[in-house]
């Protein structure tokens, strides 16, 4: 029993270690003191107001949102079609191709970032938003493929076969049977891609054109210049977006499932 209490204590400490620093970021975001650090002098929303009034931050925010949305649509389209092929069909070289699809996470992200940057610059493509978008698509693709494949395995092939035997064309079958069944996987893939894109800094620092910032690179720049008090508020907004979004999504999915089930 003492062994078990030791394990429990260790677990509590590990969870504290994982969450205390992040909790402190969120706590200090509401600090009324003018330095944004300890001690807490009171609760205030002043740093959030300053965020909204800071043009650079608002622009970074818009860039991140647009980039994340486009990345998630493109990456999920590529990922869902590829996963369908992987789960639904047998063909030669399947294992090799599966490895190829997740290759972008097997290559260190720095190397991925350098290769793409140098290659597209060699093709005389300037550092621009498209480079950033292509980078985010290739980097998020393996995650989408893994998540969508895992969900797809659970969808029975029989439904599609039934539809086809009742006279539906393959296209009709896809849009009326496969896609509706696939929607949770598509949604999960899109959310995942959006979050990864929205949070990414390693590749983004290489790909971003000068003068363009995403929220993470903006935070990075603010850290390097001087620790500005707004930084905790900006971090908090980011956490809320990337954590609340999937949780709300999961909640809605559960609610829909329980409604259709009952």
């Amino acid at each position: 029993m003492t062994g078990w209490s030791f394990i429990r204590l260790a677990t509590i400490l590990v969870y504290l270690f994982m969450f205390a620093p992040v909790a402190v970021v969120m706590l200090l975001a509401f600090n009324a003191s003018q330095f944004g650090s300890f001690p807490m002098t009171g609760l205030s929303l002043r740093w959030f107001v300053e965020l909204a009034q800071n043009d650079a931050i608002v622009r970074a925010f818009q860039t991140s949102m647009v980039l994340g949305a486009l990345t998630s649509v493109i990456s999920t389209t590529l990922g869902v079609t590829a996963s369908l092929a992987m789960v639904r069909y047998d063909f030669p070289g399947k294992n090799l191709l599966n490895t190829a699809l997740i290759a972008p996470i097997l290559v260190p992200e720095v190397v991925l970032a350098v290769s793409l940057l140098l290659f597209l610059q060699f093709l005389s493509m300037p550092k621009n938003f498209v480079l950033l978008l292509l980078g985010h698509v290739i980097f998020t693709l393996p995650f989408v493929v893994l998540v969508v494949q895992a969900r797809l395995v659970g969808i029975k092939k029989e439904y599609e076969e039934a539809a086809q035997s009742l006279g539906a064309s393959p296209i009709q079958t896809f849009f009326q049977v496969t896609l509706p069944l696939l929607m949770p996987a598509v949604a999960a893939g899109m959310l995942f891609a959006f979050t990864i894109s929205f949070d990414d800094i390693t590749g983004t620092l290489f790909w971003k054109p000068p003068g363009v910032e995403t929220v993470p690179t903006q935070i990075f720049a603010m850290l390097r210049n001087s620790i500005s008090p707004e930084i905790n508020a900006l971090g908090t907004v980011m956490i809320i977006i990337t954590v609340a979004l999937p949780l709300t999504g999961a909640g809605i999915a559960r609610w829909l499932a329980s409604r259709s089930g009952g």
Binding site: V22, P39, L78, V110, V111, V114, L118, L205, P216, N232
Partner: protein
Amino acid sequence: MALAAEGERDARPWILLSPALTAITLLLAIPTCFVVVYSFWLRTATGDEQVGFYLDNWIEVLSDPFYRDILLYTLKIGVITTVCCALMGYPAAYFIAFSKMRNKAFLLLLLMLPFWISYIIRTMSWINILGVSGAVNYALQTLGIVGQPIQMLYNEATVVLGLIHFLLPFMVLNIYVSLEGIDPNLNAAARSLGSTPFQAFREVTLPLSLPGLAAGSLLCFVLGSGTYITPLVLGGPGDGMFANLIYDAIITQLNWPLGSALSIVLLVVLGAVVLLYNRYLSLGQISKGLG
């Protein structure tokens, strides 16, 4: 007729795969090969690149002890981080897997949360804890233990700390997945045959969880050794890792041929670790954690 239908069916997976494979080829495979070519070019004094076959970058990278030392330092940091993650992660994963409490799902959900929180935020959060005006210094000063705030940040230890904080969830999740897959009857059988709880753990549970431990270690090591953000945010001037050399060469010095050679070195070293792992254990274990 039957053959024709068979042929048609065979084309469909390729149509479905073509967009993703095109993207992988154009944005990953060809660019990576191109970096190899680029590493043999030369950056001239005027800043232009000279196309050709020059070994200068490679001679510099492979013979200068400066690069070798930083590579070894990077691998050392990777190993320390991985070992710490394993030591901290195992008990937590064990607790989540075998706890009888009702809040187990909540613990699992919490474990997933760090994956949704940006790496940069998790890294910079330590400045609020250990910085000159952070929580620890505030506590020490309030308690009167120190008069002046102590500078605890910007050294090797805080780089390792930041990396552990970033990578621990990968470790816990992978160990948890493999612990969860163990048949509880095995442990019970070992106990009924007379082994102590610790013996049962050592002889049954631990060996069966090694695939998860190995998968988590691989992720921690490869991700930890390939980063440049943590040393930039939490390290001092001398704490740069190998990826920082690449960042400096490409972004600061604009010496792209040198940066290419350095990138290939990192790719080969970390790629060798992944291949070695895949030789003995399957990479499939890692995707299990994500699904």
